[in-house]
Amino acid sequence: MIPELGHFALILALLTALVLAVAPFAGAVRSDPRWMAMAPSAAAGLFVFHLLAFACLAWAFAANDFSVLYVAMNSNVLLPLHYRIAAVWGAHEGSLLLWSLILSGWTLAVAARSRSLPREVSARVLAVLGFIAVGFLCFMLFTSNPFARLLPAAIEGRDLNPLLQDIGLIVHPPVLYMGYVGLAVPFAFAVAALAEGRVDAAWTRWTRPWTTIAWTFLTLGIAGGSWWAYYELGWGGWWFWDPVENASFIPWLAATALIHSLAVAEKRDTFKAWTVLLAIFGFSLSLLGTFIVRSGVLVSVHAFANDPERGVFILAFLGLVVGGALALYAWRAGRLAGGGRFAVFSRETMLLANNVLLTVAAAAVLLGTLYPLLMDSLGLGQISVGRPYFDRIFVPLMVPLAGLVALGMLARWKRDRAARLAPLLGVVLAAAAAGGIAAALLAHSAAAALGAGLALWIAGSTVRSIVERVRRPRDLLRLPRGVMGMSLAHVGFAVTLTGVCFVSVLEVEQVVRLAPGDSVEVAGHDFRFEGVHDAAGPNYRARRAEIVVTRKGRPVARLAPEKRTYAGQAQQMTEAGIDPGFTRDLYAALGEPLGGGAWSVRLHYKPFVRWIWLGAILMAIGGALAASDHRYRRRAATGGIRDPLRALLGGEGAAPGAERP
């Protein structure tokens, strides 16, 4: 009964989404306020129906209702309750539902703030979001219904993929989807602007906070995925350039470019058509990424062909949304020509270079990701490009990007002179060079020197640009949050860069055969293998090793890597044993048993690996700060839609934001 209720809620959601997609847009075209006024209530209904459907599916998992096919495929009685709930988004159908739920949440958020927008704009934006929801709901209802019944019911479910039985699964997909789907909002704003044929400073000011919030979630989601892969996959890597990771990284690169080009569009009234195009790209890429991951088109062309119905649907929807937006762009972008002229040496130029580098990087990663498909279509066989391609392409793009951060922050708009910047950056350059030389001497590596130098260059120039703005220390707290956020995000970039560079260059890895009592030295640490014993979890059996780590005779850590076998699964899972640290991680993973109590064991010394995620957290905090800048919370233009929703949601955005002098 409850699953039918969920199914019915999805159908109601589809009908509501149809209303949301059509009525407000028609109202905007015909300038009919009554039709436009339907948007907020439709958005609220969309969210409520999604929430109901989601709750019904969660209930089916919690109650072990194995007459629901999706539950039977992805859960079983032994699975702990929190994983049963997280299993809702553990596979295809449920993750689509989560996607759609989050989209409806963003739609509601836009509706709640719609009073600060002219009603034509908010009507168009909400209609575009409604249209996207229609596509997803149709996809779910017609090809991937999570509530499909299995009759007769299964007595016991298959298990959730053991890889996904982890705190990472509970947190990672929702955060990542918040980012993916959040990019739908700038996309909707871009389409609305094209439909209206106008992009102005107000438009960029509306679009910026949404973009920044989505980017913040995407940053956290990607970093979380990387961290999860690091400790859960037992491989010791933190980034694999695998299609699934790339699918989230490509939109991130586009969104990063968009954040920077929005800054130019707002301040200088230029880059307008380009900014709109980036906003379209950002969401199109996240849509492409979601579908690539969900449909398996890239994991295998072959798997896709097994389910042609889904594939055709996906492609048709992608063509409608992306193709439609780009056609609109081709038609209307000519009207968006901007005014602001700028000299060759100016902040505009620096941010243009930033955009070029980030866009090229996104295109290169996309090309590498789609390469097997491309080759296959040309009849050249299925050829994958792996890490060597990505490293070779990506690093040379990131080095100038890192170098440009300083100039982008310090150069003036319109026109500047190198002679003015030279004295400002002299100290920073000297510090970066000194740091680079120190790293070269300590680590005997040119790459580490370059990484350390660039990181110091970014951090130093960030400090320098703040010093430029504040004369007295107490002014520091009065800095606009936008500036604080930007500075923090740039420092975060420097921190991540340091982590990536040091761990890539200086990591020590050893694969050794260890019998109980044996010890081996890795990067100054003695790892003593105490042997392996049996252990049991709620739904798995494990072989757990004890490894005692000492340094110069003093105990440092005990590591307990495991090999797990989950009930009902043939595949063994490797759980790494990790001793985390600010400047280094010690990492051990069990390989194969070699007889006589000996095992092959992989030991890693990973310098600064945590900095990769620490930097991402700083970037995310920076994003959240920037998005909360008072500027964006200004009270609205006249003519907004008055709705009860705002009162419902607290309406704190309605308070007039303090305008800084």
């Binding site: 102005d200 400073a201 107000a202 009234d269 058509a273 901007g338 066989g381 595949q571 490797t574």
Partner: protein, 202 residues
């Protein structure tokens, strides 16, 4: 206060925007580029949809397995003769091959069930990557030969990775499957074939 500044900016913008619109309106070719790129991408994805990998038949089916000796990924070596000891599977894989991960759980189940010996041909791969991949995802193979340069793959007419050959007792190639093995492929084609081959007298 704030309302005024919004209006002030908007008034300025509007003037600018209108000026721009009257200077250059209409469709510029460069604005069509993104649409054209997307159309090409959609075409690519569509052709991917239409592709049925099963239709490429191997001219090698029915012929003898080419003789080879390869160093093993985890040491030792893989000789083509061992595949003739009983009907077995030769699975072409690589750590860089995303599609291999799709069929991997199935291979692990087959290996655990012992229905047929599975040998691996690690195609155009770095040995370290291959070992790590096996550690990470599990090793269903009795042994994997390391075909770094892809020479044996060339002899076998490997068209893409993954591919799976069914080898009979005479060392003949009884069947070739292109792409990941789905449960259906295993149950409807490969398992019955292996059963038949096992019953055949030597």
């Amino acid at each position: 206060m704030s309302g005024m500044s919004v209006d002030g900016i908007r008034a300025g913008e509007t003037r600018n925007g209108r000026g721009g619109a009257s200077r250059r309106s209409g469709v510029k070719v460069s604005f069509l580029v993104p649409l054209a790129l997307f159309a090409a991408l959609a075409g690519l994805l569509y052709s991917g949809l239409q592709r049925n990998p099963g239709v490429v038949s191997s001219p090698l089916v029915g012929r003898a397995l080419p003789a080879f000796v390869l160093p093993g990924v985890r040491g030792g070596e893989l000789r083509s003769e061992v595949l003739r000891e009983e009907p077995s599977l030769l699975n072409v894989w690589a750590s860089w091959c995303a599609a291999c991960r799709v069929e991997h759980p199935l291979l692990l189940r087959l290996a655990a069930s012992g229905e047929a010996p599975i040998y691996g041909l690690n195609y155009k791969d770095e040995r370290g990557d291959a070992v790590r991949w096996l550690d990470r995802f599990g090793d269903p193979y009795r042994r994997s030969g390391h075909d770094r340069a892809g020479e044996v793959g060339l002899d076998l007419g490997v068209y893409g990775v993954p591919e799976t050959f069914v080898i009979d007792r005479d060392g003949g190639i009884a069947y070739k499957h292109i792409g990941p093995i789905a449960t259906k492929d295993w149950e409807e084609t490969i398992r019955p074939l292996l059963r038949r081959l096992r019953k055949e007298p030597r």
